[in-house]
């Protein structure tokens, strides 16, 4: 009996369970994997070399033709842009059909017909399939190329270039390709106003003759057509296509990668976002054994939404709308690129985080789950792509164009699934060459350069056409009523006021800086209101440098050698041989030049003479920077940490940099009106 009851209870529970609330916390499991079948297009070849691939798909009453001419990439140097001008001229009539009639006919059929520099595409309703085919063939084989059309397309092309001038992302892609491959490589070359102006009508004619040839051409037909019928039509329409004499040439090699990691900065003042591209050239083709593993590695790094790169830059930090990476595969040249468009103020952080993620994928093994997910995404994409009838044609074409084994796509998923954790780390190290990478940043320099400099990655500057250039300088518009006297007055009142300053007869400053750990440099400076000044630098018990000015004479001692100052040198030095040269506008020689940024703050730039410049903070009035041209290069002195001594503020931080040397002097003591005598200036 007992056992019977438990069966009842069990039965009750079971039926109860069947009507229970759905357990939403359990994610549904996938059903059995769908079967996929990979068909092949039907194929034939014309005697002139044109290969034709046909996919019959009767779902919709339409047809598409795509013509692809597999030319080697070429560069056109001073005539860069000739390919796109030619493309723009094509599809506007044939030797027997005038332009107006041709365009009218294409539109009347409701068809589309587009030409690229070595490709063409046509589509429309299948009831017009033969006429569309004939229009395409005629326009490809016997294009009507006229001078008038040439002039028009050229003018449009020039204006198009103009339209791109301020387009940050267009500039970014142009410059990063040009820097990576080299401006004279086919993939790095770009058209400019100058090169387009160099192109003549004859250039277009000869380009067209060399580019449009049947022997390396492929025509893919997909749609509601019948194989036998379309085959006959193609033989008729494309059969007359003759090959012109082709000149073989070798394709120039892409530039090697740089020897050190560097930022390449391009300034665009209108940018509200910086376009960042971390890039290096890679040697990779689809047929390489590494190919599938590289795809997976890139997918994990930056190939999708939940990649290292995007999860960091977008989801964790909110720097960008999206961050992605790509690895190209190409017989002639290709590269790895990783990047994002980020707002100006986080440009440097985004660079740093991108490099961090690169380090991560190169040094840490990828989690099993992430690897599994990346593979699953490839499998899914492969399945989803099968919905389009174009896919199997594209696969067949890829096999031919990239010299792939016949089973490339039938073994594709198997190879994707075989990629290991170890492979990912290896591929990342082999193809993501962080140490040789260019970090191309196109952005608003005035807002981003200063922070980029803090990354300590060397920065090289380029213009919008990938030419080397100088670091941009930024000026801020000055108020109309400002002049040098006002800047001086602002400084004087900021540090204590004219009345207090005029009571000062002498100032005696001692400061020290650490030269090497444990080794101190001592600085002693004395000035009086009688045009007297002495500066003495000692270290390790020795005098390194001493300079003295006393009215109309002065000398300098360096490494034991004494040298009298020339009249000219004396004139320059005398100006500052007083406690506060601002009191008389540096002897009247100072002039206000402009406002510049100093450490992110606006500062008045005051020229004292040809060699010396002083900067005063616009907001606080304080002197913050002094630049002097010396034979060893620019000597920059930064003032900071103003503190009160009596009634007057003095800078207690003085940091001096000459070339790569930098000394941070900290003031130990300042004496006003004491500790100085005429004997100090002997």
């Amino acid at each position: 009996m007992k056992s019977n009851i438990s069966i009842y209870i069990l039965a009750c529970l079971m039926s109860f369970g069947a009507f229970a609330q759905l357990d939403r916390s359990v994610m549904p499991k996938p059903g059995p994997a769908p079967k996929i079948s990979l068909d092949k297009p039907q194929e034939f070849k014309l005697t002139n070399g044109l290969t034709v691939m046909i996919v019959e798909d009767n779902k919709l009453p339409r047809v598409s033709y795509s013509l692809n001419i597999d030319n080697k990439p070429a560069s056109y140097g001073k005539k860069a842009g000739v390919e796109s001008i030619t493309a723009g001229m094509m599809g506007n009539g044939t030797s027997t059909i005038p332009k107006e009639e041709f365009n009218e006919r294409v539109d009347f059929l409701g068809a589309r017909l587009n030409f690229g520099s070595s490709s063409a595409f046509a589509s429309g309703l299948s009831k017009y399939s033969e006429e569309i085919l004939n229009l395409l063939a005629d326009a490809a084989i016997n294009p009507l190329l006229t001078e008038e059309e040439f002039e028009k397309v050229k003018a449009q092309s020039l204006d198009g270039l103009k339209g791109q001038a301020k387009d940050v992302s267009a500039v970014a892609s142009r410059v990063s390709a040009a820097l990576s491959y080299g401006k004279n490589h086919p993939y790095g070359e770009f058209a400019t106003e100058e090169t387009v102006n160099n192109i003549t009508f004859n250039d277009v004619i000869s380009y067209n003759e060399s580019a449009y040839n049947p022997d390396n051409a492929y025509l893919v037909v997909v749609g509601d057509i019948d194989y036998e019928t379309i085959k006959k039509q193609i033989e008729e329409s494309f059969g007359e296509w003759k090959k012109s004499i082709a000149v073989d040439y070798s394709v120039r090699k892409a530039k090697p990668n740089e020897r050190y990691q560097q930022i390449n900065f391009i300034d665009m003042p209108n940018a509200v976002q910086s376009e960042i591209t971390v890039t290096n050239n890679v040697d990779l083709e689809m047929k390489d054994p590494d190919y599938h593993a590289v795809l997976i590695t890139n997918k994990i790094f930056g190939g999708g939404f939940n990649s290292y790169l995007n999860m960091n830059l977008r989801e964790k930090h909110g720097y960008t709308y999206g961050a992605r990476s790509y690895v190209g595969s190409d017989e002639y040249a290709s590269r790895f690129t990783a990047g994002a468009a980020v707002r100006n103020e986080v440009t440097d952080s985004a660079v740093v985080q991108t490099l961090e993620e690169l380090k991560r994928i190169k040094t840490e093994p990828v989690e099993q789950d992430l690897l599994k997910n990346a593979k699953a995404k490839y499998v899914g994409d492969f399945v989803l792509a099968l919905e389009s009838p174009q896919t199997i044609a594209q696969y067949a074409l890829n096999i031919k164009l990239n010299d792939l084994p016949e089973d490339f796509y039938s073994t594709y998923l198997e190879k994707i699934n075989a990629v290991t954790t170890d492979d990912v780390q290896k591929m990342a190290n082999k193809y993501f060459k962080t140490d040789e990478a260019r970090i191309v940043v196109v952005g608003k320099g005035s807002e981003v350069i200063e922070n980029l400099e803090k990354t300590n990655i060397p920065i090289r500057y380029f213009d919008k056409y990938a030419n080397n250039t100088e670091k941009p300088k930024y000026e801020v518009e000055m108020p109309a009523d400002i002049n040098v006297e006002k800047v001086m007055q602002a400084y004087i009142s900021a540090i204590g006021g004219k009345e207090n300053l005029e009571k000062v007869n002498s100032v005696f400053i001692t400061a020290e800086a650490e030269f090497q750990p444990g080794m101190m440099l001592n600085l002693e400076m004395k000035t009086t209101d009688k045009i007297q000044s002495t500066t003495k630098l000692t270290g390790m018990g020795q005098t390194i440098m001493k300079s003295v000015v006393d009215g109309d004479s002065g000398y300098m001692v360096m490494q034991g050698q004494k040298k009298e100052l020339s009249a000219e040198e004396l004139d320059e030095t005398k100006i500052e041989a007083v406690p506060f040269p601002e009191l008389d506008n540096y002897g009247g020689t100072a002039s206000l030049e402009t406002i510049e940024k100093v450490d992110g703050k606006d500062a008045y730039k005051i020229n004292i003479n040809e060699k010396k410049t002083v900067y005063y903070d616009v907001e606080s009035g304080l002197k913050i920077k002094q630049v002097e041209k010396t034979p060893m290069g620019e000597s920059v002195l930064m003032y900071s940490d103003y503190q009160k001594v009596g009634n007057i503020m003095f800078p207690f931080g003085m940091s001096q940099a000459v070339g790569p040397q930098k000394f941070d002097f900290k003031v130990k003591e300042i004496k006003v009106n004491e500790g100085v005598s005429d004997a100090d200036f002997d």
Partner: protein, 444 residues
Amino acid sequence: MKKIKLVLSFLSLTIGFLSNAQKVDFKEFDLENGLHVIMHQDNKAPVVTVGVMYDVGGKDLGGSTDAPRTGFAHFFEHLLFEGTKNIDRGEWFTIVSSNGGSNNANTSQDRTYYYEVFPSNNLELGLWMESERMLHPVIDTVGVNTQNEVVKEEKRLRYDNSPYGQLLFAIAENLFDKHPYKHKNIGEMEDIDASTLEEFQDYFKKFYAPNNAVLVVTGDIDYGKTEALVKKYFKDIPKGNQPSRIFPEEKPITETKEATFYDPNIQIPAIVAAYRTPGWKERDAYILNMVSAYLSDGKSSKLYKKIVDDKKMALQVAAVNLGQRDYGIYALFGLPLGDTNLDALLAEMDEEIVKMQNELISEKDYQKLQNKFENQFVNSNSGVEGIASSLATYYLLYDDVNLINTELDIYRSITRQEIQDVVKKYLNPNQRVEIKYIPKEDAE
């Protein structure tokens, strides 16, 4: 140039969800909570699409009447990927891609659409995910703050840093005075910054209930099994209040309005003439689509042939009908070539409009239009992903899901006389805004 074309193709996208070619079979049913469900079976490839379209868009402001907030629907497009009670933050995309799928969402002034495409063995997963999003998404400060930054970057990327990216803003703010179509769909960033968590939660309650949405499932499915699965995941989601909206009516424009807009990302100016036209359900809106095709679709179209090709006055010209639910935007657009001035360019475009007002278009051109629309119709729903979106759109926004099969009939029935009448009725200079969209010099 690429960018410019993009802008135009974006505008023309909305010319028509011109519906589909052959007959698209579909089945519909309703759940008790008001969720309407549409299924379309196509077993050709092992692929399914699961999509939900909510009747909420940019025009539906958040906040309160005193402090209205723009950009809420678009912000929710982001926010509703942040996770649900059973899907952890950041997991949404991982679940989709690790099951071989892809997903996306988009928002217009009138609606928001979320969808996933999966290999067909993951149909149930897709339904679970969309039901999770509808039932109990996590709306908290962390999610709001993250997406706030992302949306700001999206705005910079798409509009502020993009040549001609602010064209539509310039048109909308000048064409609409009271109706919320005047606002940017992506919203003002200050509005999002100022919004409270409570405002976001209220907005969800108001607009994202099953009775304000339609669920579509298309592709390699079985009708019976799919219906059972839909019920399993969606039937217990509580019904919400039906949101009511009354938007102010715009007064007709009777005098030409002139405006200037400065874009720092361009060097070639543009001229736009924009007219306020009827909402997309109206027959006149369909006729205006034909007017657009007549004027600027293809190399033999009137504006292109005359202004770009023959007279070489413009780099590009376009006439687009941007369809929306309450009012459409009809716009003439031109990019001058060389030193053509903007007024001269507009005058050239006007000349063609006047011709259309004075005489019927030719029989041959009429036939050409018919062929063009047939071709569009055939191509408009070639994949199960596109069919899903069209079914949802026709149901939710056009109130007639069968338009997916019958829309071409509307175009076929339009006469040459109707075309002339519509141009006369809507496209007059005194009914429009003329915008000079010009380069802003470097602000340094």
